[in-house]
């Protein structure tokens, strides 16, 4: 089986290689990268064991070309040549635009956010979280398919390789023109990669009270996340700190939910954490069904007490 894989972020390519070979039994894996992505040497990063060819999509040197347009056009050309059984695209926001467009253009099936992709009796099968996390749908297709694969779902492939490099000039037209890029200050906090995430929920009464968690975060070397009401509704914390279905998915060693009820949309974003702790006044809060350790109590008393206890007990 031939497969084509793509991400505008070459660092995600090795994860796609693992999914393609180990989960889906691809024998010929061709990677597609953007040649003028800000990271120089995209091809080098993507050159891991298992990749047979790398297509470098060369486009107008100016950085302000629509990456999605270049990707869709380039992938269309590559797929028409390679006739892959499946195409894997990393599920970044750009990837989420590229995949359905490519599938529509090629007449392929499309499965987004595919978890646990695999082969079953000649069909490609994957799972998707649906109904706000209440259900897992098992999806299958007998056709060629474009799938988006969430980052971090697969171990990155390693090992030296010497794939054939194929530069490909792509001229997608200028339908969408990028006129500027800017970086919103996000701070240095990245909840995705943290080993310990302490998330605050609606149990906090005011924004200032969030500082209660600072010392705990320091003690545990953790970062502070939040449930949706605190980000998009109240604006107490930036959006990139939101854990859940419409936010970030985290898999830390320790996740502490403070004043969070545990609605399914929140659980979806932290379900794969190694250890889950909940602190909540409501004994019947659903989060207590989804935690390893829980404290029924007022966070305003329990958090300071926990800080004192950890201080006095630490070795």
């Amino acid at each position: 089986m031939t497969s084509v894989i793509f991400s505008e972020n070459p660092r995600l390519v090795p994860e796609l290689v693992t999914a393609a070979i180990e989960k889906l039994g691809a024998v010929d894996v061709r990677a597609v990268v953007l040649a003028s992505s800000q990271e120089t040497g995209a091809s080098k990063i993507a050159s891991v064991k298992g990749v047979s060819k790398i297509y470098e999509l060369k486009h107008d040197a100016s950085n302000l070309v629509s990456q999605e347009q270049v990707a869709v056009k380039g992938l269309e050309i590559v797929c028409n040549e390679a006739r892959p059984s499946f195409v894997l695209v990393a599920a970044t926001r750009r990837g989420r635009e590229v995949a359905p467009r490519l599938a529509t253009r090629l007449g392929y099936a499309c499965i987004t956010d595919a978890l646990n992709p695999r082969l079953e009796e000649g069909r490609i099968v994957a799972e998707r979280v649906v109904w706000g996390g209440n259900a897992i749908a098992k999806i299958s297709t007998k056709d060629a398919v474009v799938m988006t694969i969430p980052p971090k779902a697969h171990e990155p492939a390693t090992g030296e390789a010497n794939p054939e490099l194929r530069p490909l000039e792509v001229n997608p037209g200028a339908e969408v023109r990028v006129v500027g890029r800017s970086q919103k200050p996000t701070g240095k906090v990245n909840i995705k990669d943290a080993d310990v995430v302490i998330s605050a929920g609606r149990g906090f009464k005011k924004k200032e009270d969030l500082s209660l968690l600072d010392e705990l975060a320091q003690l545990l070397n953790g970062v502070i996340g939040a449930s949706r009401p605190l980000t998009s509704d109240l604006g107490w914390m930036p959006e990139e700190r939101q854990v859940g279905l419409s936010g970030v998915t985290v898999k830390p060693k320790l996740y502490i939910a403070v004043g969070i009820s545990g609605q399914i949309q929140h659980l979806t974003g932290m379900r794969d954490s190694k250890l889950v702790v909940a602190i909540n006044t409501d004994k019947n809060a659903p989060i207590f069904q989804e935690c390893d350790y829980g404290v029924v109590g007022d966070l305003y008393c329990v958090i300071p007490a926990l800080i004192r206890a950890l201080r006095s007990k630490k070795v």
């Binding site: 209440n134 398919v145 969408v176 890029r181 970086q183 930036p238 609605q263 008393c301």
Partner: protein
């Protein structure tokens, strides 16, 4: 003056489903229905554009007869006309087939400047319809829009927010498809008066014939993906719950964390 089309989906309220963990069953029977959450932001944005620039807003929905309820709500929020794409042959259409049918309706409307969709629906959240629709229509697409900065008679400029706070400002010629993110606005609640007067606005029903749909390209026949099963997610947590005084419970929790090998600085 811009002619805007908004695509919306009528869905079960996912917070009202009955989840039977023991028997691994999800019961939709009697669950409330609603406009998919993010579609309300799409409607809101369309109505704001109309309030600023004039023009009109047509709301499109592919669904059963029940979807009328959501179309009416969109009309109450300020849309002008509704089009319900309803036909038994559409049943079981996957997202790409849905986009195909929507594209036929957009073409039937004919004169339009902007199609607005959400980035995903609250039920399935596959995020396919907007991008796929742009492909079927062969017009430009801007995804994950968090701000429409400028709209002229032939051009749109918008900000899209990508990961890690990267904001990209892009422009394209009209007509175009724009898929919005939830952060773009706060949807309004229609007043009672608006709800009542929405009843007078026009809702037309279009079926496969009036849309000229290719029957092999819609419904289950046209769809390339199958949903084989719906399962309830399992949890295998320890569920050790401490109750009592803050000092006592916090102390027990601290012991448990240290025993689990959590490092304290």
């Amino acid at each position: 003056m811009p002619e805007i089309i908004v695509c919306i989906k009528h869905v079960y309220d996912e917070t009202d489903l009955r989840i039977d963990r023991v028997n691994n069953r999800i019961d939709f029977e009697g669950a409330k229905t609603k406009i998919s959450d993010d579609d309300k932001n799409a409607i809101e944005e369309a109505v704001r554009i109309k309030e600023k620039h004039g023009g009109s807003v047509t709301v499109l929905s592919l669904g059963g007869a029940e979807a009328r309820k959501s179309i009416k709500e969109a009309l109450a929020m300020g849309c002008d006309k509704g089009r319900l794409l309803v036909d038994p042959v559409f049943d079981g259409s996957d997202a790409i087939r849905t986009a195909y049918v929507l594209s036929l309706a957009v073409k039937k409307i004919g004169k339009f400047d902007l199609v607005i969709t959400a980035s995903g629906s609250t039920d399935i959240y596959s995020g396919i319809v907007g991008p796929s629709l742009a492909e079927f229509l062969k017009i430009p697409l801007i995804t994950f829009v968090t701000k429409i900065s400028e709209l002229s008679s032939n051009k749109i400029t918008a900000e899209r927010t990508l990961e890690e706070g990267l904001v990209e400002t892009v422009e394209c010629d009209l007509p175009a498809v724009v898929s919005i993110s939830r952060e773009i606005n706060q949807p309004r609640f229609p007043t009672l008066l608006q709800i009542m007067s929405a009843g007078k606005k026009e809702i037309l029903e279009w079926n496969s014939q009036s849309l000229g749909a290719e029957l092999s390209l819609v419904g289950k026949t046209g769809s390339k993906i199958q949903v084989e099963a719906l399962n309830v997610p399992k949890s295998a947590r320890k569920r050790i719950i401490f109750e009592g005084s803050p000092e006592d419970t916090a102390s027990k929790l601290a012991d448990a964390l240290l025993k689990e090998g959590i490092e304290v600085k």
